[in-house]
Assembly symmetry: D2
Homo-oligomer: 423 residues x 4
């Protein structure tokens, strides 16, 4: 670029009345015009690029790396490698500082990939030593379900906060034990119900609670997938606690509860366990259940392990329906609304800016740990799901209706709602 | 968990014939069953969770942090803060090692957020000093268009590889100068045509080139947005080189070229510059152009700066149409196909796993730098777009048809196609 | 048009080698070029306008009016006025020749609107006189459910063929009585399961039966609507026989049976009857049921009377899912398919040329009457649904699983499939 | 049904306070409860079945057959047989009373199918004789474009009202001649712009005119199809007047005008005529044009004859976009809206109750004839399109911008808007 051209550029920028461009002093080489970026408490903001009709823009502004909550990830399976480790890179308030695994080579490889120091690799034998590592402020338990209780208790005893994958446990007793241990140790316990922190689900909850389309009457959901040939711990009852119900059906169940905010008073259940399919020697394939809520809302959920991915939810209110399809996957969750807009039937699909669901969930956890606030999905939230799953299995065994106690208020098992901007 | 329960778990795992679970030796506390994860050359693989119908799973397996290509980001505006810095966190082969900015406070804040060492902060005056910093292997130029040429030339002279944002420059001459400088310095020059590395766009290219729906006949695309009130450098001709055409219309133009692989032989153009709207004192609002390709394919593109976001493309072939909607945004790009499937009209929408487009693009750049391979979108790709944009403006000024030379082969301005797994 | 121009036109047409235009002899005034239309047995065909990629075109070619099956419509409520009378205008093989109604003024008005002669108006008292009217070859019974049996029996005794709306009756006994009466009178009895004749539903059945996406595992459907304030016969148990189940839930039930071709072996049921809502003094609001089929397919259906229209169905197979949304309405029924098409998740929506569903259904009925063929949905099809609805209500009352006998073959209660071209 | 049951039924109905059921007096046989249907001026209304949320229900209530406008259909090709004759069956105010065709056998067959008396069959030689047939009140001209003018003039001279297919003519002069002839004969002339009477298009016009999403800025539309091998009159310039532009491109052009209500001041055009394809010996394949309107709205339309059906339109306003896809076909026209609904991008699709477009259009014509009202799309509407098409061809030939005169008011060439309930 010639000097003349450069001067033209700078002149152009300088001449722009009311512009948010600042022209730097002339120099031998060009200096780009500065944006009027503002920096406050380490957060940067910029003047908007787009008109107000286009929706607000938001810079990421993650916490400085050194200030983020240090987490030890316990278990390095599919979920950890496909979602959680990449999720740290999108998170603002957490960082992975340690790994716990029984497979040494794998742990080393992953540590290198994500910058976890070698000294912070643990196995299940020396797990107790995390107690002495101040970098580790919390653990994220991503183990087979049957081990959630034991490792939560051990972590709490080691003085660490606990984020535990769902299902919380394989029994009501285990869940109660976990809550007690964290309470005793005065550590935060949060169950990783990732979708309660997802913008699409939170928007759906808003639509339901604000009665935008009238009174809620019915909710139906399916969460189904096609599992690989046998061999996974999810197919071993002693490790998983059940089949499709606690693994994927739980998402339907939990959604019915957070959409209504109520607890069911009547539960039914049905399961199938196809003979001859080695995946279902120990656990159910299809699980189906219905819940009746005190307000009269009826909900029906179905999960399965033997069919192509189908994850959807729809809530029917008096004046319209709203739902999610796909509803329960790791990405592309979209909201759908159907209503009458005479002379047409209108159907609206809402798509959201992609965000790693585990990043959002972990950031909420970090904020709770830092501020002492109760998580939106504390142990009690997981415990109630354990109770209902036990009732579903009981109903499925006996064929009848199992009665349950209603809660005395909405969202009785939940802490304050997550910040909107987190989604 | 009691010892009895634990033994049951381990027994269950052990008893599973053909399972990919390995039972660890018994111990005082539980040890989760190990997955048969494999580690090869630092890459981890796991047995699949899902049936083959569900699509292959792929672990991220990023390069160890220390081995990634070190990049200095030049310019810290919206694009850098909203897309590129977060993109590094999703990339496998690159890492941000330095920032170049005229705004010191902002640079410090961002450096802390993303772990860039303070010593690696540069401003435009001391930019030349990057020459002496071996951590900086390449620069990513994210400056106003009119400065692309100057900083590319300076970076090449400093011995650094260059990834430069689009549009490559504000004139054909600048583009030629950039190519020459990088060639002379024997440095890689890649233009950041992010969508040529996006899975949805690559899938669309495949559908077109394989003639899945017959011969291509027509392509039409729109890329429009609603800009904020005046003050942005994009509205200053000397900085931007033009209005909607080089900024967003370029995506339509570039797509027409990479879908066909051809170069246009006839070009027309139309622009509007609404009087009284201060955003359009210097640059056009709407730009519209048509291209005629040697094969007979006709393409029409439209861009605008004064309307709600609308970014779409549709290609019409003899037996079906295929397109993208949204086509050109940073996320949720989806492919659409329309064809006849008697007795119905079938319309297919394909959604893709979200990936930061800049992460994918930067990874391709890093692979090219490491292997010496020519980038898929080298300087020549940008140069040809500059030529066509000049023809469009010429046609818009005169109202006629501007003739251009066809290329002698398909994809004449492009290097080898990016690896499929990158998308 | 001048003579010169006309001659040019004719010359142009004549000069077109291989054209399907025939140039008429010259005359004082222009004669349009003739298409090479063919007439065979009163059916007209024309050369195609569009390329083969565009799907075959099909002329309507209805039967000459005088040759169509003469039908007396019994009952002139919403369904008759909104769907069936307009449906005659789109039908090929039937015509409305008589009306039976208790409201004389209304009958006169409708007769005038649709060209039904006044002499062919009957009321319920002189219904028996249809026996003596040879123009009336059949009746279409569109009365409250509880009257289906009586009027079917009376029509059969009067020597008329019977097309009867669904649900067939309000009890198994009534259904059996209807079948017996028509058999004895040697008259055709068809139940008006309109969707079994709908192209979208037939296409879905094809996808399921051909196992395009593997083995079927699960089907779920909802058919819900929001009824007006009390006063409809549908809310009176003695007239309707039940609430949402026999009215709209029946569509889910029937679809589960025709998609699989099987009969259920286990049935469960749940109903709700909200207190204080005058619409539900006598009948249920929500009805929910599950069916287990011998092949292992599990199906769950839900119907409701108190929520915005939601009519959908989805079938889950091992390698993909397919469904209809909307599924059960009078128009815009669309098919959806979801499957994996790496690297994308593909979702296909199929739309169909609109056709009045009652026109298609009545045409099938007419063909059966004319040829003596058994209808695809004879009385036996309705009877089996009555049996299953009785089991659902029994299960809902007792809370358990009701066992049923499987059928010995697929489609055991159905006649030959309707001609494809009927849809 | 036993007497006891029947009494229960009647009792149930009678006991329903506030019900709209009337119980008939008891009799030997059952009498269904009457609906409180009302009859006024031959129109029937019924109490609503569904809650207000579900949208109003509307009975068809066609005019008595004998009172409908008698129309002679001139030309029995694809359009007549596939759309117009079936359309009469859905119309309320018209009936087909005569056919005019040069192919006697075909005319006889069609007459039988649709109940047109043999005596009312005419050919082009004895066309003038329609003058003496009082049953024929109007003609619908469905001939090749080049014959529209001649037959319109002849019909007007025979004292008949004229509904003429689009394009109105093959030149501006012809169009002016048609207007003059009908004016002189004091007969109604309406051009069959079917989509200006379609509910989806009218809803779109409403959204644009009410500025629901702000100021309109851009409209883009495509109307393309894949024509059969050569031989159609549409491919003969002397009969069609042009290729894709007057046939399908006209829909884009007309839509740009009725969405804005304005007339263009600048026009450009491009056409392609692929060598070697016998379909395009005489007429263009692709036609592309741009219009600039006085308000600043820019519009770009594209039509084609050599590609799979693609008929779409999208209008871009400052705060959202709205469009139709498919836009121009005979059925399934759907409206789409895109806007920002933070934190989501919302996209709404509206579907409409299917109605034969020609039925709606003919009903409007009949109302105008009966009331003397000017049609919404009189000859002047067609004339203006002829003027603009001439400018497009002129621009395409010369490559420049053709200037045109703006109109002095909105909708300057249109009569009063059609009644909403017609759609």
């Amino acid at each position: 670029m010639s000097d003349t051209t450069r001067r033209t550029i700078l002149g152009a920028a300088a001449g722009l009345a009311g512009a948010h461009l600042i022209t730097p002093a002339s120099s031998a080489e060009s200096q780009p015009p500065a944006l009027l970026g503002r920096v406050e408490n380490g957060k940067v903001s910029l003047p908007p690029l787009h008109a107000p009709s286009e929706g607000g823009e938001m810079l990421a502004n993650p916490d400085p790396v050194a200030k983020r909550l240090g987490i030890a990830v316990v278990g390095i399976g599919h979920l950890t490698l496909e979602q959680i480790m990449p999720g740290f890179a999108e998170a603002k308030h957490v960082r992975p500082v340690a790994l716990v695994s029984g497979e040494r080579d794998k742990a080393h490889a992953i540590a290198a990939q994500y910058g976890v120091p070698e000294k912070n690799l643990y196995d299940y034998k020396n797990f107790v030593a995390i107690r002495d590592n101040p970098e580790i402020e919390a653990v994220y338990i991503v183990l087979p379900n049957a081990l959630h209780a034991e490792f939560t208790v051990r972590a709490a005893k080691a003085g660490k906060h606990v984020l535990c994958e769902k299902p919380m446990a394989t029994s009501v007793a285990e869940a109660e034990q976990m809550i007690a241990a964290c309470r005793q140790a005065q550590r935060t316990l949060m169950i990783a119900y990732r979708l309660q922190y997802n913008t699409a689900h939170r928007t759906l909850i808003d639509v339901a609670r604000k009665k935008t389309y009238g009174e809620l009457r019915l909710i139906e959901a399916v969460n189904a997938q096609n599992d690989a040939a046998p061999g996974q711990w999810r197919q071993i009852k002693a490790l998983a606690g059940g089949g499709s119900l606690p693994d994927v059906g739980l998402y339907c169940l939990n959604a019915f509860r957070y959409i209504t905010g109520e607890e069911p008073i009547e539960v039914t259940g049905r399961i199938t366990q196809p003979k001859g399919d080695p995946r279902f020697r120990e656990v159910e394939d299809i699980s189906h259940f219905t819940l009746l809520f005190p307000s009269g809302v009826f909900a029906a959920g179905t999960a399965g392990y033997s069919m192509h991915e189908n994850r959807r939810l729809r809530a029917d209110a008096t004046d319209g329906w709203f739902g999610l399809d796909p509803a329960f996957g790791y990405d592309n969750v979209a909201m759908e609304i159907g209503h009458r807009a005479s002379p047409a039937n209108a159907r609206e699909q809402s798509t959201f800016t992609p965000r790693n669901q585990f990043a959002v969930e972990m950031d909420h956890f970090a904020e709770c740990v830092r501020t002492g606030r109760e998580p939106h999905t504390p142990g009690e939230e997981g415990l109630q799901d354990q109770r209902i799953m036990a009732a579903i299995y009981e109903a499925a065994a006996g064929g009848g209706v199992v009665k349950m106690a209603p809660s005395d208020r909405l969202d009785a098992t939940r802490g304050p709602a997550p910040d909107a901007q987190n989604g």
